[in-house]
């Protein structure tokens, strides 16, 4: 049985796993974006706060994913919870950092004009500053998503959803009938999905970034 036959044979299970994989990554990215933007907004005006938030998020990223999962399993148990927590933590760094960079990069004259013509503090943030930082935030989300696609594979170690289970069982059963097919399908599947999602980001960028600030 070659890879294609394997995929055709197990299509039901594989497509479900692929769907779960993407769904987990996308949901975690969105969650991390909400968190990351809130953190970014909270700290971007203070240099110390910005440095602290970036350093903290960087530290999380230096922990190997296996180790982080191992640390989280005792707290959240096996399954989706641990996966979500791990993925969100990893996605935070690029998003928090880009939010801070994006907000700090807004021309002070533009913010001043916004205040000066009578926009409220929230109005300035939501209608001007975040809108101008959005391309940077989106770039952070894009990096985060790519990273999570790979890390989500490892999350199968904690019995998380997705294509990781294919890779893991392929490796665990090395030498048996379909082990190579399993590992290959999982890996190639993740790569294809990652490329597809990247395409989606290009589209989202086109649709949501004003032509006035698009590069």
């Amino acid at each position: 049985m070659n890879v294609l036959e394997y995929v055709a044979d197990r299509w039901d299970r594989l497509s479900l796993q692929a769907l779960l994989h993407v769904s987990a990554v996308v949901q975690c990215t969105v969650l991390a974006t909400v968190l990351g933007v809130v953190i970014g907004v909270a700290v971007y005006r203070s240099p110390v706060g910005s440095a602290l938030a970036t350093a903290l998020a960087s530290t999380i990223l230096t922990i190997p994913s296996f180790a982080l999962l191992a640390l989280l399993i005792p707290v959240f148990g096996l399954g989706a919870d641990t996966t979500v927590v791990a993925l969100v933590l990893y996605a935070l760094l690029p998003i928090v950092r880009n939010t801070i960079v994006g907000l700090a990069g807004v021309d002070p004259a533009v913010s001043d004009a916004a205040r000066g013509i009578g926009m409220s503090r929230t109005g300035v943030l939501t209608r001007v500053e975040l809108r101008l930082a959005w391309p940077a935030i989106l770039a952070g989300m894009r990096v985060a998503t790519q990273m999570l696609m790979g890390i989500a594979v490892i999350a199968a170690y904690a019995k998380g959803p997705g294509l990781g289970s294919e890779v893991f069982s392929g490796l665990a059963n090395a030498g048996s009938a379909n082990s190579v097919n399993q590992a290959l399908t999982g890996t190639i599947g993740v790569v294809i999905l990652a490329l597809l999602l990247d395409g989606v980001y290009v589209l989202v960028n086109r649709l949501t970034v004003s032509r006035g600030v698009r590069g």
Binding site: V110, A113, A114, R115, G116, I117, V128, L132, S210, R211
Partner: protein
């Protein structure tokens, strides 16, 4: 519909930043008369911008009172207040992600106008500052030149028809020629709108050109002299003011006089579609060729006229012209560029007359005699 200006009163206004011994603005009192342009001029860091920003409370005064049209500005919600006070700054501070129309429509939108009214107002404003709505409404700020951005900045500041306008070096970042045009336009607008304008600059020439009154400010925003431009030029209060006025006061005084204030000469003119043989030269050496809408095109010498079969394409193109709102200094400049008479045009660019050096010299002599 335009709302005329209201009087601004600053009474013993002081701004003291925490941890600093000297106040940034110390006991500043001034009345800005309704419908006039008052220019704050002074060296960098003298507190002129701080003073201006206290009027719309981008900076909160430490003590003192500010009233706009009799109403206590410190008792109004700051955001509400700012929607009623136009604000234009250097480099315009336009929102780069908004189109020109969206930028201009921000304040009416904040005030809750319905969309139709906002759209109509945006179009009106673009006409007012000389930007064709059809061409520019959908553009983004980065697709505009510096001068066009400033126009949009002014249009945005005026969009909600505020009685008071604060302008912080709004023309500081554009080239001198564009700056001159923008200044002329501001004066034209003010002629129609009669807003109360507080204008901050460090350029004394700009102050002289624009101000109904000028406040020369020193350290901690102390008022060194607050008077009309000609009074300050003729009679500076002290050495600091005199230093600021600088050399060449009589040339500067020319910036106080407008082309419309002096008697214009006339040139022999001919429409571009006229037959050269029918042009009555009337003893002059040159004929000014106008286009169908009476805008000046070229100077044609009588010799050329005799041999030409048509007025199109002959002669020397008009290099420079001035409007009725231009200062005599601009006119002098145009004369030098043109090598003789300066052509004066009206509001639509149509020919209205000419101005020559003799007229300007006479004006200078009269000024000297009266000073």
């Amino acid at each position: 519909m335009a709302e005329k200006g209201s009087e601004i009163r600053l009474d013993h206004v002081t701004k003291r930043y925490p941890g600093q011994k000297v106040a940034a603005v110390d006991d500043f009192s001034m009345v800005v008369p309704a419908g006039q342009i008052v220019v704050f001029v002074g060296p960098s860091g003298c507190g002129k911008t701080t003073t201006m920003r206290m009027i719309n409370r981008l900076i909160e005064p430490t003590s003192g009172t500010i009233t706009i049209g009799g109403e206590d500005a410190l008792r109004i919600d700051p955001d509400e207040l700012r929607r009623r006070v136009g604000y234009a700054i250097q480099q315009a501070g336009l929102f780069p992600h908004f189109t020109v129309a969206q930028n201009i429509g921000v304040v009416p939108g904040l005030l809750g106008w319905d969309k139709k009214k906002v759209d109509a107002r945006v179009e009106e404003m673009m006409d007012l500052v000389g930007l064709d709505p059809g061409e520019f409404a959908g553009r983004f700020p980065r697709q505009l030149s510096g001068g066009q951005q400033q126009r949009v900045g002014v249009a945005r500041a005026l969009a909600a028809d505020p009685p008071v306008l604060l302008m912080d070096e709004p023309f500081g970042a554009v080239d001198p020629i564009t700056r001159g045009h923008l200044q002329d336009e501001l004066l034209r607008l003010q002629g129609e709108l009669h807003k109360t304008i507080v204008f901050v600059t460090h350029d004394f020439d700009e102050a002289v050109k624009l101000g109904d009154r000028i406040a020369v400010l020193g350290d901690r925003s102390t008022i060194l002299q607050y008077d009309t431009p000609d009074a300050i030029l003729a009679n500076p209060a002290d050495d600091t003011v005199a230093g600021f006025v600088g050399a060449g006061a009589s040339l500067k005084a020319l910036t106080l006089l407008r082309v419309r204030d002096v008697e214009l000469g006339t040139a022999v003119t001919a429409r571009v579609d006229a037959q050269p043989s029918t042009v009555d030269i009337d003893g002059e050496r040159f004929v000014l060729v106008l286009d169908q809408r009476d805008r000046p095109l070229r100077w044609v010498h009588q010799n050329e006229l005799r041999h030409a079969s048509s007025l199109a394409g002959i002669g020397r193109p008009v290099q420079d012209s001035v409007t009725l709102q231009s200062t005599l200094r601009d006119a002098l400049e145009a004369m030098v560029n043109e090598g003789g008479r300066a052509i004066v045009t009206g509001s639509r660019g149509e020919y209205v007359g000419t101005l020559d050096l003799t007229t300007v010299t006479e004006v200078v002599q009269r000024l000297r005699a009266s000073a």
